[in-house]
């Protein structure tokens, strides 16, 4: 027989071992403040960028702000104009001294692992391609504005069908692939419409420049070695935006390398013009870059940068706490643990993600006539759809307690979101929406119930789709909260857990979103980009959420005018429609967040308005600087 004392002793020893092992954490310091301030050289660079863009802010910790859901303060930005402001001399190269060492970053493995920007989304490209090569237009890391990069200046003609970019003449491709010239641009652009391309901009570029490489090469022309001209088939006011990294896939590759080695070798060891040099990649394991000591814009402080691809979040956190990496992508729910281990949560300079519910079935009545000829043989517009009634949409908006969602799910970091697609700092925003938001959208379950009764749709059947997208794991609990809110006002809600890919295939691509509501998230970008996907009836407007036939007219006016006043007015009018007719259910604007080891990282600032959790890694300074 076993003596009880032996069992007790064994159990005690085991508990003691675990206790000793876990106890170390209690002595860790709790640091929630921002890392050390910028070094002098860095400050000068920051000032230069801020002067160019007119604004800026420092990285800050991710501590929750009790004044959450306050309206956003407008941040000045450079916008697309016919004669854009960046016509000054190129940004001076920022001299930095390498401090050696490796910058190791634990990241979520991207869905598409690529070196060719045409083989994936802008998110994938910004994470993996942007370090080693640049787009034509750079993005200021403090205010997100478009600033000179490879292109020193640019301008559009009167009707926005011709854009001309002046390029730097002092940029060399990595390796021995010679200087970067205008002749590399058409080649790089042609990759985006390759047969195997699945880039975010593939459809857009086909529409703007043609379906074939031949056609594209006639529309994107090198006027001389350092002047490139884009001739668009339809007017577009956002070509400089698409030539940047915020939305675009137009990163620069070497024409000489492509012609000498072919596309496969170009992908295996691409020569770029970025601040980091691509070294090697092991699928699902890591991506290694080395420092470009002679970059025209900024040479990194670190000798090399390595992305360590780790799917499990707890593992990424453990890598950070043991200092095996200096930066990690950690979701909000683990931020408290991270801070408890002495790590710092940093936020992007600008809001990064907008979160909302999309009300399904709100299709443009003018599409009714096109129903029979639609390729899916579906009639998008159905007159008996409850969601076509503005009172129902208002009731849904009134039923949801945004402050509670922000407090309980987002830890209070969310900021007020008034109209889906619009941010106060971007063109087309109407300050009236901020002023009237509480009156028109404020939480009022009683009023919501009454509105539903007045609409005649009390107790209608609603399918709440519980789905999520990367970057906002709270989408599912947000949907669960909405279930309660909407049930409380008398809607007969049924929930359906569905993966986003299936939601796309089953509901919104074939135009069958009638009687549904689903959470979604989008990025911080000019409103017309978001509206193009969500609110426009045809073309890329696959969501087709349109509360008024004027939507398409105003959208076309906004996107086809390079006059900033006309464009902003059209966007504002369209936003007014969306706001007054309760087009969607805007919830919050969120910053992008990243966890860093303050003992290793000094300063890190990134705009957050780019489709990746963090960018601008060349500006990261070590704590010792």
């Amino acid at each position: 027989m076993v003596k009880p004392t032996i069992l007790v002793a064994l159990a005690s020893a085991l508990l003691l071992a675990i206790g000793v092992a876990c106890g170390g954490a209690s002595e860790e310091s709790t640091q929630t403040t921002a890392p050390a301030s910028q070094p002098q050289a860095e400050q000068q660079q920051s000032q230069t960028e801020q002067q160019q863009s007119g604004g800026g802010q420092q990285a800050s910790s991710g501590a929750a702000d009790p004044t959450a859901m306050a309206p956003e303060t407008p941040i000045p930005t450079v916008v697309a104009t016919a004669t854009p402001s960046p016509t000054s001399t190129p940004t001076a190269a920022q001299e930095t001294t390498a401090v050696g060492g490796s910058l190791r970053i634990a990241t979520i493995p991207p869905v598409q692992q690529l070196t060719g920007s045409w083989l994936g989304t802008t998110t994938s490209a910004n994470t993996q391609v942007r370090p080693f090569t640049d787009p034509l237009v750079h993005t200021d890391r403090f205010d997100g504005s478009l600033v000179p990069g490879l292109a020193t200046s640019w301008e559009a003609n009167e009707d926005g069908t011709q854009w001309t970019f002046q390029l730097r003449n002092d940029v060399e491709f990595h390796g021995d692939w010679g200087p970067f010239t205008a002749h590399d641009v058409p080649t790089s652009a042609s990759f985006i419409i390759r047969e195997d391309a699945i880039a975010t901009d593939t459809g857009l570029f086909r529409g703007l420049f043609g379906d074939t490489e031949e056609e594209m090469l006639t529309n994107i022309v090198a006027l001389d070695d350092y002047t490139i001209q884009f001739n668009l088939k339809t007017p577009n006011s956002l070509m400089d935006f698409f030539a940047g990294a915020q939305q675009g896939n137009l990163f620069m590759y070497s024409k000489a390398q492509y012609e000498a080695e072919g596309i496969d070798q170009l992908q295996a060891k691409p020569a770029g013009v970025g601040p980091w040099v691509f070294e090697e990649r092991t699928i699902d394991v890591n991506i290694l870059y080395s420092r470009n000591a002679d970059h025209y814009r900024r040479s990194p402080f670190f000798e090399e940068m390595e992305y360590i691809l780790i799917p499990e979040e707890t593992t990424r956190l453990a890598q950070l706490t043991t200092s095996q990496v200096q930066i990690g992508e950690i979701s909000r729910e683990l931020h408290t643990d991270a801070q408890g281990s002495g790590l710092t949560v940093l936020q992007s300079e600008l809001p990064s993600i907008q979160v909302a519910f999309i009300i399904g079935g709100v299709y443009n009545p003018e599409e009714a006539s096109a129903c029979l000829t639609d390729e899916f043989q579906n009639c998008f517009y159905q007159p008996d759809e409850p969601h076509l009634n503005p009172k129902v949409r208002e009731a849904i908006n009134r039923a949801i307690d945004r402050e509670e969602i922000n407090r309980e799910l987002f830890g209070g970091i969310g900021r007020q979101h008034t109209v889906w697609g619009y941010h106060p700092a971007l063109p087309g925003y109407n300050p009236r929406w901020t002023e009237e938001f509480d009156d028109k959208y404020g939480f009022d379950a009683e009023l919501a119930t009454q509105l539903l009764e007045e609409s005649g749709h009390q107790g209608y059947d609603l399918t709440l789709l519980l789905t999520e997208l990367p970057g906002v794991p709270e989408m599912i609990p947000m949907g669960e909260a909405a279930f309660t809110y909407l049930t409380n006002i008398g809607i007969n809600v049924e929930s359906e857990a569905i993966r986003w890919a299936d939601y796309r295939a089953k509901y919104y691509r074939p135009g069958k979103t009638h009687g549904t509501i689903a959470a979604t998230r989008g990025t911080y970008r000019p409103a017309d980009i978001t509206l193009r996907f969500y609110n426009r009836s045809g073309g890329a407007g696959f969501w087709r959420t349109s509360v008024d036939p004027m939507t398409d007219i105003l959208y076309d006016r906004a996107t086809q005018s390079v006059d900033p006043e006309v464009k902003a007015q059209a966007l504002r009018d369209l936003g007014d429609l969306k706001f007054d007719l309760y087009s969607e259910v805007p919830i919050v604007w969120l910053p992008a967040q990243i966890v860093v080891d303050p003992a290793a990282i000094g300063e890190m600032a990134w705009p957050g308005n780019i489709n990746a959790s963090f960018t601008h890694t060349e500006y990261i300074t070590p704590a010792s600087q």
Partner: protein, 307 residues
């Protein structure tokens, strides 16, 4: 014997054939890879263009026979997720990592299970036996991924004795994931050793050895264990296959660049060619392991004959 081997090989080929149908069908039933891989903003035209380029617009039975014909030559097609790479090249690149981890896990399982199993039998109803039972209980009930996370948090994150993840730290990198994978097998192997040992300990020749004054350690470790090893040996050979298959969650937790993690990533992104290549490779490993065990069984135990 020869006839038996031919029969078993034929059985294995038939099994693989049926398997290709199941794997192919399940992969297609899981949905359209374009829904995962295409950007949110992709148009229907983009989707149709790629569907045609990837051959996904052809009738399913045509796709299957194309897949089968190519698979016979080891060609499972190009990965949809990792462009420019064939599915089989990704699998073969990872297979050594998974096999190495499974091998270490087997060693770990044996090193823990055999001594405790023997002690539990020899010291039946003693503290060793009870400790063995507790270990068996934990081994069977603790999910491998949870155990992996706990091991990582205690021994890597807090104590710093081992690296957190990856395999770039050499031998040390293997310890925690191998324990997490092997732990589940420890329980079964230990109980098997214990029961086999109990049977052998009660035999006449063991009693005779003791009467003749053979040292006790020699009786147990040489005479008893050798004879008691047949059943565990069979099981041991089988678990090599299951250890490789069971590495899926652990490779995910420890960011181990093996086939298991490749399978998860491929399944999530509906990368059909890679999913098919992984599953068929795993099954091939399992079938071959079974076949070898059956054949080896006859050699290990001369009493066994096949007809």
């Amino acid at each position: 014997m020869q006839r038996y081997i031919i029969f078993r090989v034929g059985q294995s080929i038939l099994t693989l054939l049926v398997l290709t149908v199941i794997v192919f069908s399940l992969a297609r039933l899981s949905g359209d890879p374009l829904d995962v891989l295409l950007p949110l903003e992709a148009t229907n035209e983009d989707a149709e263009r790629l569907r045609a380029a990837w051959g996904l617009d052809r009738p399913v039975h045509i796709q299957y026979f194309t897949f089968l014909g190519n698979a016979l030559t080891g060609d499972f097609g190009d990965s949809l997720r990792v462009r420019g790479r064939t599915a089989i090249s990704l699998v073969l690149e990872r297979l050594p990592n998974t096999a190495a981890l499974a091998g270490v896990a087997v060693v770990v399982a044996i090193l823990i299970a055999v001594p405790i199993g023997v002690l539990s039998a020899v010291k039946k109803d003693s503290v060793f036996d009870y400790v063995g039972k507790v270990i068996a209980l934990f081994g069977q009930s603790l999910p491998a991924f949870w155990l992996g996370l706990m091991l990582m948090w205690v021994f890597a994150a807090q104590l710093g004795w081992f690296p957190v993840s990856g395999k770039e730290h050499g031998a040390l990198s293997y310890i925690l994931p191998a324990i997490a994978i092997g732990w589940f097998q420890v329980a079964a192997l230990m109980r098997l050793v214990r029961s086999s040992m109990l049977d052998v300990l009660d035999t006449e020749y063991v009693k005779l050895a003791r009467i003749k004054g053979v040292a006790e350690w020699k009786v147990i470790w040489k005479h008893c264990l050798r004879n008691a090893a047949i059943a565990p040996f069979t099981y041991f050979a089988l678990i090599i296959g299951s250890l490789m298959v069971g590495s899926v969650s652990i490779e995910f937790v420890f960011a181990w660049p093996g086939v298991g993690r490749l399978a998860v990533d491929a399944a999530v992104t509906k990368d059909f060619p890679v999913v098919q290549a992984v599953v068929i490779t795993f099954c091939l490993v399992y079938i071959v392991a079974n076949l070898l065990v059956d054949i080896a069984y006859a050699y290990v135990d001369p009493r066994i004959r096949y007809s």
